[in-house]
C-alpha cells in the first residue's frame, strides 16, 4: 500500500485541484483530505458520511471560587495567556498545563473540549476521509496524523493500491505531519516568483524528511520563462517533473459544478496531461512497469 501526498507550500497552487483529478482517475484509492483548516476536497468528492467523530483538545480555566489571586500563573505563563483578571485567553494558551501544576490553590482546572471533527465516508472516487479543526484551535499536526492513521486502517481493509493525501499549505507542523512517512510527495509548483520560492522550501522539507519528491507544474503556460526555471531547477536537483498542466479557464466552472477538472472536460488538455501524469506517478511508485 502506497501513500502519495499532494503538497506544494503555496496556498492556492492547485493541490486540491490536482488531488481531485487524481482521485477521479485512480481506481478506488483511499482519499484523505489533510488540510484541516480548509478541507475543500469534500466539496468536489461529495462524500456520503458514515462516521463523524469529535476531535478533543484540552482547555484550561481558573476556578474563581478557589483562586487566591497570588498571580503566580500570570508571572510564569510563557505565552502571556493568563489575563490580569485571572481568566485564561484560549487563543494564547498552548495547553502546556504549567499553570495548573504550580497553582498553590489548585484553582486551575483542565477539561476536554471539542476542537474539531473527523469523518469517514464513501465517495464516488473511493473511501474518503476528511477533518475540520475549529478556527484558532491548536494541534493541527495531531489531527493530520490521526486522519492518516485512520486512512491506513481503511486501506488495509479495502482492495486498494494506496492512499492519496491532499496536504495543507505552508511548511509547518500540519505539513510535516502530512508528508512524513509517505512513499511519494508530489509538489504542485506554480510558475510564479512566489510559487518557485515556496516549492523550493517544500523540497528542502521533503529532503529533511527523506521523502521522495516529484514536481507537477500547474498553470504551466502562465509563464514559459518561470516554467523553464522550474524544470531547470528540477533537473539540477534530480527531481522528476511528472506533468505540466495548462492554465484552464474552466477550473472555476468545474469547481462551481462540483466536478474535478479532469471529469468536467475529459477531452481537454488538462485531463489529457493529468492522465499522463498519473501514469508517470504510478511508474515512479513501481505500481506500473
Amino acid at each position: 500500500m502506497k501513500q502519495i501526498v499532494i503538497t506544494g507550500g503555496k496556498g492556492g497552487c492547485g493541490k486540491t485541484t490536482v488531488t481531485a483529478s487524481l482521485a477521479y482517475l485512480a481506481d478506488n484509492w483511499v482519499i484523505a483530505d489533510c488540510d484541516v483548516d480548509s478541507p475543500n476536497l469534500g466539496i468536489i468528492a461529495r462524500p456520503e458520511i458514515h462516521e463523524n467523530r469529535e476531535f478533543l483538545g484540552k482547555e484550561f480555566s481558573i476556578d474563581a471560587t478557589s483562586c487566591e489571586h497570588c498571580g503566580l500563573c500570570i508571572r510564569k505563563c510563557a505565552y502571556g495567556a493568563v489575563r490580569g483578571d485571572f481568566t485564561i485567553d484560549p487563543f494564547l494558551c498552548e495547553s502546556c498545563g504549567f499553570c495548573a501544576e504550580i497553582c498553590p490553590a489548585k484553582a486551575i482546572v483542565e477539561r476536554e473540549t471539542v476542537i474539531g471533527n473527523w469523518r469517514i465516508a464513501d465517495s464516488r472516487f473511493g473511501p474518503f476521509l476528511d477533518a475540520y479543526l475549529q478556527p484558532g484551535a491548536e494541534n493541527s499536526g495531531k489531527l493530520v496524523t490521526l486522519l492518516r492513521e485512520k486512512a491506513i486502517e481503511i486501506a488495509e481493509d479495502t482492495p486498494t493500491e494506496g492512499i492519496l493525501i491532499d496536504g495543507p499549505p505552508g511548511a509547518g507542523c500540519p505539513v510535516i505531519a502530512s508528508i512524513a512517512g509517505a512513499e511519494l510527495a508530489v509538489a504542485v509548483a506554480e510558475p510564479t516568483v512566489s510559487g518557485i520560492h515556496d516549492v523550493r522550501r517544500i523540497i528542502e522539507l521533503t529532503s529533511t524528511l527523506r521523502t521522495p519528491v516529484a514536481l507537477i507544474i500547474n498553470k504551466a503556460d502562465l509563464s514559459a520563462a518561470k516554467t523553464a526555471e522550474i524544470k531547470a531547477f528540477a533537473e539540477s536537483a534530480g527531481i522528476p517533473v511528472v506533468g505540466e498542466l495548462p492554465y484552464d479557464k474552466l477550473a472555476n466552472k468545474a469547481q462551481s459544478s462540483m466536478k474535478t477538472l479532469a471529469e468536467f472536460a475529459p477531452k481537454g488538455d488538462f485531463a489529457v496531461e493529468m492522465k499522463k501524469s498519473w501514469m508517470t506517478i504510478r511508474k515512479l511508485l513501481g505500481i506500473e512497469k
Binding site: G11, D37, K76, P135, G172, S194, G195
Partner: protein, 283 residues
C-alpha cells in the same frame, strides 16, 4: 493603524493585495510599514528590491540537560505535555523539535538539572524599498511553528504609522497570532465554492477575535461574484472592492511585479480602499 490581510484559503491574493496596497499608498506619499507574517512561506519580499537594514536570528528557549545533576526522577517527562522530554529508566532524552518552550521542565526540576538554552527557529529580516519599511520572518525548514517569529515581525509595527500585515493562509494558530491586536482585517476572497467555504472559517475567527473586517473579491467576474456577495450580505460584512479576473494581473504577479505599477489606474483603487477602511474603523 494595523490592517491585516487574511483569507481562510491560500492563493486568494493576500500578498497581491498587501504589496499593491502598500505600494500605492507609499506612492501617494504615506509612510508605510509592510509586515509579512507568513513565516512558513514568506513572499512579500520577492516583489521588492530591499536594501536590508537588519537580519537576526529568532530563537526559542528549550531545555538543556546537565547530566551530572540529573537524578532521573522523571518529573520533567511527566510535566511535559508535548512529548519533548522522555524519561527511560534513569535516562532523560530531549526532543528539541517537539518543545513548545513552556518552561515547565526546568522550572520544576528539583535538581536544577535542566536549564534554558536558545534554539534558532528562524530569521527576521528588515529593510527599505521604494519608501516602504518591510519586515518579514522566515521559519527554518523542519521547524513546527513560526509563532515566535510572527511576534517579532509584529513588534516592528509603528503605532503612529500605517501598518499592513500579510497573514499566513488558513485559520490555525499562526493566523490567530497574526490577527490578535489588529485594528482591521481585510479578507481576500475568491468567488468559488472553495473560496466561500474558507471565507466562512476566517470570518468566524475574526468574529471570535472581535476584529472588524471587510472583503475584497479577487479574480472577480460578474457571473461568479454572487457566491461571495450573498454570504457577505447575510453576515453584514462590506465588500470594499473587487479586483477582476485578468490574465495580465496573473502574468505580472508571476513575474514578481506589483501589478498596479504597470496598471496605475489601480493606484486610486487602493487609496480609496484605505479611506473605506478608515471609515469602517471609526464607525
Amino acid at each position: 493603524m494595523k490592517i491585516a490581510i487574511a483569507s481562510g484559503k491560500g492563493g486568494t491574493g493576500k500578498t497581491t493585495l498587501a504589496t499593491n496596497f502598500a505600494d500605492s499608498l507609499a506612492h501617494s506619499g504615506m509612510d508605510i510599514r509592510l509586515l509579512d507574517c507568513d513565516t512558513e512561506e514568506p513572499n512579500v519580499h520577492l516583489f521588492f528590491d530591499i536594501a536590508e537594514t537588519e537580519r537576526r536570528a529568532v530563537t526559542m528557549p528549550i531545555p538543556k540537560l546537565l547530566p551530572d545533576k540529573c537524578t532521573g526522577c522523571g518529573i520533567c517527562g511527566n510535566v511535559c505535555r508535548f512529548s519533548a522530554i522522555v524519561n527511560i529508566g534513569k535516562m532523560t532524552i530531549i526532543h528539541p523539535g517537539m518543545c513548545h518552550g513552556c518552561t515547565a521542565c526546568w522550572e520544576l526540576c528539583p535538581e536544577n538539572a535542566l536549564e534554558p538554552s536558545e534554539k534558532p527557529l528562524g530569521e527576521l529580516i528588515s529593510g527599505k524599498a521604494d519608501g516602504i519599511s518591510i519586515t518579514y520572518g522566515k521559519l527554518h525548514i523542519g521547524e513546527m511553528s513560526g509563532n515566535r517569529i510572527i511576534q517579532a515581525v509584529k513588534a516592528k509595527a509603528d503605532a503612529n504609522k500605517l501598518n499592513i500585515i500579510d497573514a499566513p493562509p488558513g485559520t490555525s494558530c499562526p493566523v490567530v497570532e497574526t490577527l490578535s491586536e489588529m485594528d482591521f482585517v481585510l479578507l481576500a476572497a475568491e468567488p468559488t465554492p472553495f473560496g466561500l467555504a474558507n471565507l466562512r472559517s476566517i470570518v468566524e475567527l475574526a468574529e471570535r477575535l472581535s476584529v472588524p473586517m471587510g472583503i475584497v473579491i479577487n479574480r472577480s467576474t460578474p457571473e461568479e461574484d454572487g457566491i461571495v456577495e450573498s454570504f457577505a450580505e447575510s453576515r453584514r460584512i462590506s465588500i470594499l472592492g473587487k479586483i477582476p479576473l485578468d490574465r495580465k494581473i496573473a502574468e505580472l504577479y508571476s513575474a514578481g511585479e506589483i501589478f498596479s505599477r504597470r496598471m496605475p489606474e489601480y493606484r486610486a483603487f487602493f487609496v480609496e480602499l484605505l479611506s473605506k477602511i478608515e471609515r469602517a474603523v471609526s464607525r
